[in-house]
Amino acid sequence: MGSLLWTHGRADARRNGTPSAGASLLVPMDNEQTNHLKAYGLAYDAVQRGGHTEWLLNYRGGSFLIPDDGTARRAATLAGIAVAAVSDADVLDIRGTIEQSNMDAVPLEKAPRVAIYSPPFAPPWDDAVTLALRYADIPFTRVWDPEVLGGRLADYDWLHLHHEDFTGQYSKFYLTYAGAPWLADMVRENQAAARTLGFPNVPALKKAVARRIHAYVEGGGFLFAMCTATETLELALAAHDVDIAAEYADGTPMDPDADAKLDWTQAMACKDAHVEKNPAIPAFSDIDGHQVNNPGLRQPLGAFELFNFSAKIDPVPAMLVQCHRQVIPDFYGITTSFTRHTLKSADIVLAEEPGAPWVKYIHGDVGRGTWTYLGGHDPEDPQHQVGSAPTDLSLHPSSPGYRLILNNVLFPAARKRELKT
């Protein structure tokens, strides 16, 4: 087995001027790795360049095997990614280890086309997925309501949602941040979009967008959502014929019997939730277990634990939990977690806080596609506030929480036949 390229690369460079190429490069993802997040970008780039790339599930933290060429070596050195040159014989040894353990080698065949659902205005909070993709140098396209309703989601393999409020209530910041210029922008842009696209108000627009997203998943798309987008997407789908928006959002009060009228058969992950009826509390329902903005109900942060899945039998959930840490400190979002009693029985729990009435990370199928929800806003800023500076990932290159996001980006690249679950 080759040693880490730092040593190799320097010796090669000094002898020959350029690094020499071997059979493959192993990108370890255990504690030997010096920049886990950029390693995903290296793997993505290898797939995009058409080289034979494999994701070695559960092998040294979920390592990658990529073709050894000058481009990959240069990129690894520039980004500070630890890689090791491995010969064909080394690869055979690795395969032997994988064969005898709870591990698997999943070929990555097609670099997924990534879309991030994001408004054209700049809200005063960061978006963990945008930060992660940008830092890993993985290309993506921004889409918003006009693109979604215009059928453009079909152009993408992977869609990400983050802090969006699909109930159309502006994250319920309307009252607490009344008068703030960024909120005025948000209201104006959303109302303009609703008018342009022919909807009577913003909640109606967002419900239509939610239904399109549901159809996208049903048709084979991969959806990954974090923070408020998870819970509000579920609520918007369940509330297709019910007014769950506060009066300030659509001009009419919320239906007092909304809870009883919600149609959970239309939702993807949740059931039997109760909506938060106070328009001044930035919380949406009891889907979220932590209620960070709900005084009296707010729960303290703990840590969540990733499940161990069988790499050979359940490669999809196994891919989604590849990490060099089994236990990860929790982090708040308006939706931090998912209460167990509001989960559908078919949901796969990927991570939970043991003993708590909530879970952190869930996954499931709808039609030919899949959805994955991760609670919380920013894994490296556990109490991200409105107006806080965005997280600088160069200070957290091995963030285990951000790794979970990037697992989701690469998972659609896996060869379809491997997606058994």
Partner: protein
């Protein structure tokens, strides 16, 4: 978050409300259950209290809080009605009734309840305030405005509910109107000053002028408005204007004036920039005049320090001199004043006077403080190149901190081996830690030069110590160019040229600095100094907008020196230039 504060406020109010001894224990249990989210159980206990004490406001408010299901609201209404039957003046019950009816969407019944409350308490603004707040929370801004206007008309008070109207105006983008309302509110009740500042601070930049204009215009409440304006201007980085406004709007009473001045001075002192420091200094100065002499000493010292931080050493000296001649000042205050004066004189590059002051303070200063100030004086001598005087100033100081001073003296005299030994001995923790990096860098330079003596290098570095960066840079280049003939190590020339580049940049010669860094990076590419030169060059290129060349430099540096300690910094810079991380 405002909502959170509101709820905490309600709980505090509830806890403070008087309760009968019999019901108190049940009430406390109910609140505990509420805190842990057992709302149904808490509701049952609140109801239990209300059966015996129908007008218990804490229990009624608690029942309202935990009754979030629509089906429970009728129950709350029933208890509110019972409370009103027992006491038609129970304000909390009226408020609960209003909120519940509005939450149920029964607007017409809510209007009747409002009328009933107004009739029961016709001279009070409370019913209108509650109605306005409920409307505002529901996003019905016009309803909230109407409620305030109705209150003003009926109560014949044009300033009634000014804080509520200010929020309504701000929500509608009328920041000038909001400023006028807050001015009236603070004039009536100064306790609103902080809320006014908080509410108006969020005004967009283009509205700042209108807000300040409204707050400071002549008419009733002008002084209150100006105090709010001063607070805002401090936050909006206009400290000079803020102080001018505040000085003209100080309360007449000494005690109130002292509070206003202290608050302003402390806030300004915590801000960066000479303007804020000067405003702080003047406010402290005035505050000292408002205090009893025995309380004013420390305030004057703070004033002097703020003047010095603002670069106004003349005023700083004036304040300190007045203190040293003040018969009311005690020994501790005088010693502190003497120390501040010595630091000030050194800052003014007048070590002679600093030394005299130190000698004058004599035994009044504790021994350790006297030694520390002697080193301050010694550094003052170093700043002007008086090496003998610096050495004499610490002659009696055998500490490692004293060795540090002797190390610099040796360096500037060109006794490099002695300098290296003394500076290295001082380590990283002696004296002011902010000087430790400079010591480490100097020791690294001396390692690279590897000579026991080199007077030309000492002279060149002394120029830099005296603040003459450009001449220091040129002198270092001369030393560097002359080295190969005198048999120096291969690391010496690039190290000296790197230092010369740094001094050139500090002296404003960015082109000269760039040329020197380029020379180190290209002519001495395998030297220890090369990675730092590449990094500095890339930063210089980026600073003048040539991002492409900067990125190329950084990439070249990382690929050529992958094991340099500077590589993580270069990678971070590369990420920043490529916009892969936020530009923070």
């Amino acid at each position: 978050m405002r909502a959170a504060r509101l709820l905490v406020g309600l709980l505090a109010l509830a806890a403070a409300a008087p309760v009968r001894a019999a019901g108190q224990e049940i009430l406390i249990r109910a609140m505990d259950l509420e805190q842990v989210g057992a709302w149904n159980e808490a509701g049952a206990l609140y109801r239990q209290v209300l059966v015996d004490e129908p007008t218990n406001a804490a229990a009624l408010l608690g029942l309202e809080r935990v009754s979030v299901q629509p089906a429970q609201r009728d129950t709350v209404l029933a208890y509110a009605a019972r409370a009103l039957a027992a006491n038609p003046a129970a304000q909390a019950a009226y408020a609960v009734e209003l909120r519940v009816l509005r939450a149920m969407g029964r607007d017409s019944l809510a209007a009747v309840a409002l009328a009933r409350w107004v009739a029961a308490d016709s001279g009070s603004s409370a019913p209108y305030r509650e109605w306005a707040r409920i409307s505002f929370k529901a996003g019905r801004v016009q309803d909230a405005r109407d409620a305030v206007l109705l209150a003003r008309q009926r109560l014949r008070d044009r300033a009634a509910l000014a804080p509520e109207m200010a929020q309504v105006d701000a929500a509608g983008g009328d920041w000038s109107g909001a400023a006028g309302e807050w001015r009236a509110a603070v004039a009536a009740q100064p306790v609103y000053a902080e809320a006014a500042g908080f509410g108006l601070r969020q005004a967009p930049a283009e509205m700042h002028g209108a807000v300040i204009g409204t707050l400071t215009g002549s008419g009733p409440g002008m002084a209150a408005g100006r105090r709010v304006a001063a607070d805002l201007l401090l936050g909006w980085n206009e400290p000079g204007r803020a102080w001018t406004l505040l000085r003209g709007a100080l309360p007449a009473a000494d005690s109130e004036r002292a509070v206003v001045l202290r608050t302003f001075a402390e806030r300004a002192r915590s801000l960066d920039g000479p303007g804020a420091q000067r405003a702080a200094a003047e406010a402290y100065d005035l505050l000292a005049a408002a205090l009893a002499p025995e309380d004013a000493g420390q305030i004057r010292i703070e004033s002097a320090r703020a003047y010095a931080a603002a670069g106004d050493t003349a005023d700083a000296r004036r304040v300190l001199r007045s203190l040293s001649g003040d018969p009311a000042a005690d020994d501790v205050t005088r010693s502190a004043a003497a120390a501040a004066m010595i630091e000030l004189l050194v800052r003014e590059r007048n070590p002679e006077a600093a030394e005299r002051t130190l000698a004058g303070a004599g035994t009044k200063l504790p021994g350790i403080e006297r030694e520390r100030l002697a080193r301050v004086v010694a550094r003052g001598w170093l700043q002007i190149g008086a090496l003998d005087r610096a050495e004499r100033a610490v002659a009696a100081d055998s500490s490692l901190a004293g060795d540090e001073v002797r190390g610099w003296v040796a360096l500037y005299r060109g006794r490099l081996a002695d300098a290296k030994r003394l500076l290295r001995g001082a380590g990283a923790t002696v004296g002011d830690r902010s000087r430790a990096p400079a010591r480490a860098e100097t020791v690294a330079l001396l390692d690279a030069v590897d000579r026991d003596t080199l007077p030309e290098l000492g002279s060149a570095l002394l120029l830099a110590a005296r603040g003459d960066s450009l001449h220091a840079s040129r002198a270092l280049v001369t030393v560097a160019r002359g080295l190969p003939d005198s048999g120096a190590t291969p690391e010496a020339e690039p190290a000296l040229l790197s230092w010369a580049a740094r001094f050139a940049a500090a002296g404003g010669d960015s082109a000269g600095a760039e040329a020197l860094w380029r020379e180190v990076a290209e002519r001495f590419g395998s030297s220890n100094a090369a990675p730092a030169a590449e990094l500095a060059l890339a930063r210089a290129l980026a600073a003048r907008g040539d991002l492409k060349a900067a990125v190329q430099r950084l990439e070249a540096m990382i690929l050529a020196h992958p094991e340099s300690a500077l590589v993580p910094e270069a990678r971070r810079e590369l990420d920043r230039l490529r916009a892969l991380v936020p530009n923070s």
